[in-house]
Symmetry: C2
């Protein structure tokens, strides 16, 4: 007899929510020529980050600072807010898990968009919460319907990404501010700004660190090019931020991750040129779509959603054909969004591969 | 109004269980000349680990493999067990959190020793569990009393470290095997072998991957010198191991951490010479204790518990005096153990500092 898992744990599936490209390669033996599926930054981290990692490599016998003091101080200075309004965790995923744990009792409702970030749902259901998912309106998360659902369901938490993943769309700051004001104060607003660095001016509301029901999450995984280091941060009211200390894995952010993030934040010139390259690569992806007679969705992120011109099954065939041709992409699965594939802005040579293989994959998929 | 935390979350303190040496230094401005408080390995990681980290530093823009395939395969080969019997997490701390979550409902009992690893307690109480703590018998965890408590309390989980932390003592494999056999099969045995690499032959039971109620945890943080990388692993029956996939942060083990652990495992010659240095340094710490007229506890770990010759308050004064003199150590706090300070086996030059400062700290503490 195996020791009894909790009834909740028994009810959960054993799963790896995203299949990594490494796992795909182990199964297929096809090396990926373009790794453009996980919205990583193929432009890499700043050379100063690489130097910082190499310089600190001999120090890894020491635990990292559990207070994450230096990184929090650097972020506080960069954002011009107190450290007390910042929590750092093992990526936004790690922070989502902690937030879900802090606020979710079995049966509590979390409102999100149907097809939005699945790892948020994974964490909420992992603590017994119930997901209420609101369909997108076209390619956008539907702010009005989300507010209505939060009110109707007396939601414990509402999730919104701006810019959006997986479609890449965005709302302007004024619209987000109205959304925030419309959410009941007993509902936590989890505003995921993972793609904030590539968003056009006027997308991000001012930082409001006085509002007790607003937590914004950001990351070093995207434009800063540190996905593999697992450093995300949460910005919020000091009282809520302090609650992370109730439940976090205090030594969980590695020593090198802390050093890498400090170095990344300090090199804003690198960030600026990555953002410029992402903009150019995004234009190229729109052009590649158009060359193939496909529509693409305007994007404020480092990826572009391309409408494959058929239904969800067709888009999945295109994805599989791309995969077989050495191009790693992902796709939304929700009805209405699932006709798209999502291609990250890779390096120019990776986009060359996409340009070459997409028409062939479309042909494969049509057969 | 702040969104309501769960009643459980409200009941938990916001805390950092261990104050890191960095935080102590920020408060006191005294640089530590000997960092011998957290049982880190001052001998450092293998040079091949440092090379592997530097070589992979440019790849940190990619997420780590969420299946942690290569490290699990290397561990499986090293231990001669299937990968399906291994889970890897963000240090043993991270694994403890997942285990507590999988099995603990509010009110469930976890049995441990009074003064044993506090982070286990942190995670259990963090999920609403109740700690039943059994006093040590002398300097040893009391196997018989632990078994009795597990039976009496119908414990969900029982925690045992072998070798022990914070006292450094150990039981022989035959005694641990009897302990395991005596625990009811509905109680999970969490056997923490963080210090297994420095244990004398005959300390570790054979790996039993068929027993459904046994999970053993090990780490790269101690003898392998990778505390700052956060890589721990659990060995157990495949069905229980698979349950980690229900709740873990799938991308949580960083890309560099995976690469570093693979390189560390491959350099068993480095490990062997570290273990030899730890043995020599341990002897030196016993000698330093004796020179000061103090008793010390035989140790199977990379630290030595030294009896300061008075009560707990006295030992705390010695600790504070050492801290003021640039020596970072920690101490057990439980009654009966608290007369000791715990000094990690540092590099020879760090033990020189200890040898110089301990008599002065004892003098300070006596005043």
């Amino acid at each position: 007899m195996r020791p009894i898992l909790t009834p909740l744990a028994q009810s959960l599936p054993s799963t790896v929510p995203f299949t990594g490209p490494e796992a795909l390669q182990r199964r297929t033996d096809v090396p990926f020529l373009a790794r453009v599926g996980a919205n990583e930054s193929g432009f890499g981290p700043s050379p100063k980050v690489i130097e910082a990692i190499a310089a600190a490599a001999g120090e890894v016998w020491m635990y990292g600072d559990p207070e994450i003091h230096d990184l929090k101080a650097a972020l506080a200075a960069h954002l011009d807010i107190p450290s007390a309004n910042l929590a750092v965790g093992e990526g936004i995923d790690g922070l989502h898990g902690l937030i879900a744990r802090l606020i979710t009792e079995p049966g509590d409702v979390a409102v999100t968009s149907l097809g939005a970030y699945p790892t948020f749902n994974y964490h909420v259901t992992g603590f017994g919460g119930r997901i209420v998912a609101v369909p997108y309106s076209g390619h956008h998360e539907d702010l009005g319907a989300l507010v209505a659902a939060a009110r109707r369901e007396r939601a414990k938490v509402i999730y919104l990404s701006n810019p959006d993943n997986p479609m890449g769309t965005w709302w302007r700051a004024t619209e987000i501010e109205r959304f925030i004001a419309d959410i009941p104060e007993e509902t936590l607003i989890l505003l995921d700004e993972a793609y904030c660095e590539t968003a056009p001016a006027g997308t991000l509301p001012e930082l409001d660190i006085a509002r007790p029901n607003l937590i914004r999450t950001r990351t070093f995984s995207k434009a800063y090019g540190l996905a593999g280091m697992r450093v995300g941060y949460a910005i919020g009211e000091a009282g809520f931020i302090k609650a992370f200390d109730k439940v976090r894995n205090h030594f969980g952010v590695t020593r090198l991750s802390q050093a890498a993030a400090v170095a990344a934040l300090a090199d804003q010139a690198w960030l600026a040129q990555v953002v410029a390259k992402v903009a150019a690569g995004g234009e190229r992806l729109h052009a590649i779509a158009a060359e193939n007679g496909l529509a693409s969705v305007p994007s404020a992120t480092n990826f572009v959603a391309i409408d494959c011109g058929g239904d969800g099954d067709h888009a999945m065939r295109v994805l599989k054909a791309l995969e077989a041709r050495g191009v790693f992409v992902r796709k939304p699965m929700a009805p209405g969004l699932d006709r798209h594939i999502r291609i990250s802005v890779g390096r120019p040579e990776e986009l060359d591969v996409v340009a070459r293989q997409l028409p062939l994959a479309l042909r494969d998929a049509a057969q």
